[in-house]
């Protein structure tokens, strides 16, 4: 347990048992995260003696530009396996995104309605230590529906609209080939209307599920990177990250739907509220903003 040399009112002195929590960053962290959150450093943020991408997952170091934070997720997996073998939960946040148990602000990000904007001064170490640790095994951002009452949408439609659909198709093909997905699941996957922001890269997950899923996805990404040397410009260069978010989201939803905790209830009729997963599994995704600047997806 880290010694913070602080008074008893500082929650940072307390570390939740058997929880490995990483914060993926490529810049110097501005937020004072609780002690138990370990920064996983990428790119220019890497320093001697810290948990760096180049040490934890040197394989992915050259691919950091096209994978973004996903490289840090793979590094986190190696970090958990090496340094937290007894962890039963794994948590992940990013330098300016994290999942909280309850809403911390009512300011919805204008460009991404599934996310709240919180300002830096509003976050104390004690508050973060309280809201970032779940009571249960899961803490996920609330999924949102891609469809609305005016327009049907689903994973393939949404992906085709905002990215290049061929990347998603190739990624799914690879996942089928590696038997991460059954071939019969493919139409359902592409027609999935619920989306969990961040997939398996934001929130807290049971360690066995998370390690299994991330390892499988890593292997799919490895095959895709090897087979398709993509040269897309700018934003869409991170195609495999976008695909991983979708697939991760599907894997979590699939797991929760199959678990006995998801029961049919009266509220199942309200499709806007996903009636899956254990009670309290869904929190809120937050974006840490310095001022009034808006969020641009993918940054």
């Amino acid at each position: 347990m880290p010694d913070t040399r602080a008074g008893p009112d500082v929650a940072g002195a307390w570390s939740p048992p058997r929880l490995a929590y990483g914060c993926v960053t490529h810049v110097a962290l501005e937020v004072d995260f609780p002690e138990f959150i370990e920064p996983i450093r990428l790119g220019a943020a890497q320093v001697e003696g810290a948990f760096n991408l180049r040490d934890l997952a040197p394989e992915w170091e050259p691919h950091h530009p096209i994978l973004g934070g996903l490289a840090g997720t793979f590094a986190m997996k190696n970090h958990v396996l090496a340094h937290h073998p007894d962890a039963d939960r794994v948590g992940l946040c990013q330098y300016r995104k994290f999942v909280s148990k309850r809403r911390l602000s009512r300011v919805v990000a204008p460009s991404y309605k599934a996310m709240d904007v919180v300002t830096l001064p509003a976050l104390s170490r004690a508050l973060l230590a309280d809201v970032m640790v779940p009571d249960d095994a899961w803490l996920l951002p609330r999924p949102f529906l891609l469809s609305n009452w005016r327009k049907h949408s689903d994973m393939l439609e949404q992906y085709s609209r905002v990215h290049h659909p061929q990347d998603l198709l190739r990624f799914v093909a690879e996942a089928v080939e590696q038997q991460l997905l059954d071939k019969a699941e493919v139409p359902d996957l592409l027609a999935e209307e619920l989306m969990l922001p961040g997939g398996i890269e934001l929130g807290v997950f049971p360690a066995d599920f998370w390690i299994r899923s991330v390892s499988a996805i890593e292997s799919v990404v490895r095959a895709c990177v090897a087979r398709y040397p993509l040269a897309r410009e700018g934003y869409n260069a991170r195609a495999w990250s976008f695909c991983t978010e979708r697939l991760g989201s599907y894997l979590v939803l699939r797991h929760l739907r199959a678990s006995p905790a998801s029961k049919v209830s009266f509220f199942a009729l309200r499709r806007a509220v996903p009636n899956i997963g254990p009670r309290g599994a869904f929190g809120r995704l937050n974006l840490i903003a310095r001022g009034t600047d808006d969020y641009v997806i993918g940054v």
Partner: protein, 290 residues
């Protein structure tokens, strides 16, 4: 009959000795074992596709036919294709459906003796002669579509990769992918069985050939027996889709519901023919892909 339409190029694609003597206005393109001196062979027309014949089947012959039309028949106005035991006729000949593949009629070989085979193949002045379309959906509450159907019968990752390549090359628009996967109507044979206007056909085959070439290069894989012809199955779907788009442009009609049905009735009346399978006496039902 050839003098009636000099612009018609009709080809029969075969990898075995022909069952029936084709009429004089039909050229024969030979694949595999059937290739020989003095014949139109895959190895001369499209040597690029010779090593791929096992994974492409008759589609390799279609690509060879495109070279033949471009090089030797630049005046072609219509292109027709039949296979060694499958062809599309304008009218039904036998009226006996294949027990397994109900869009197709079985025609016993003796019924095509003499001039009857030539009469059955002759497209008249129709611009298109294609097989009657099939719908995948059997019960309306369970819509199938190209993707579900392919997933059930074949290896779904192949179709995903094929479509990805088609989008990459601009053959399919990126917003078209969903509609393609949901499309429920298929014209058996796609653009590889029947008669088509030459400009449409050359363009469609050029596109399909480009996509298949990229797939073969990027995904060298080996599948068992029937499934080995992956790219051929995918090419049939893409060809069918290009054909449907053309028909819907010509006669109007949407892609779903009643307007799709009305449109399909219209183009089927104009261009629909009958797919036939030539059989000998002992036929126990068609096995897909042969």
């Amino acid at each position: 009959m050839a003098e009636r339409d000099a612009g018609l190029v009709y080809a029969c694609i075969t990898h075995v000795p022909l069952w029936l003597e084709p009429p004089p206005w039909v050229v024969t393109i030979h694949l595999g074992e059937a290739q020989g001196e003095g014949r139109l062979n895959l190895r001369e027309l499209a040597p690029e596709w010779l090593p791929q014949h096992p994974v492409l089947g008759g589609t390799a012959g279609t690509f060879a036919l495109r070279r033949y039309v471009l090089e030797r028949r630049p005046d072609a106005t219509r292109v027709g294709i039949c296979q060694y035991r499958k062809f599309v006729s304008r009218r039904r000949i036998s009226g006996v459906r294949d027990p397994r593949y109900r869009a197709m009629d079985v025609v016993p070989k003796p019924t095509l003796d003499g001039d009857r085979y030539a009469d059955a193949l002759w497209p008249g002045d129709a611009r298109f002669v294609v097989s009657k379309p099939r719908r995948f959906t059997r019960v309306f509450w369970h819509r199938r579509g190209y993707l579900r159907e392919y997933e059930r019968d074949h290896c779904v990752e192949d179709l995903l990769r094929f479509v990805a390549e088609a989008v990459e090359q601009g053959v399919l628009d990126s917003r078209e992918v969903e509609a393609f996967f949901r499309e429920d109507v298929i014209v058996p044979g796609g653009v590889e069985l029947g008669v088509y206007p030459a400009d449409f056909w050359l363009d469609a085959i050029r596109k399909i050939e480009g996509v298949v070439r990229a797939c073969v290069t990027k995904h060298a894989m080996v599948r068992d027996a029937y499934q080995s012809r992956v790219w051929s199955f995918c090419a049939e779907r893409l060809g069918s889709w290009l054909l449907l788009k053309r028909f819907r442009d010509e006669v109007g009609g949407g892609s779903t519901g009643i307007s799709e049905w009305l449109g399909r009735r219209r183009w089927q009346a104009r261009f629909g023919g009958q797919l036939n399978l030539i059989v000998d006496e002992t036929h126990a039902g068609y096995t897909g892909g042969t």
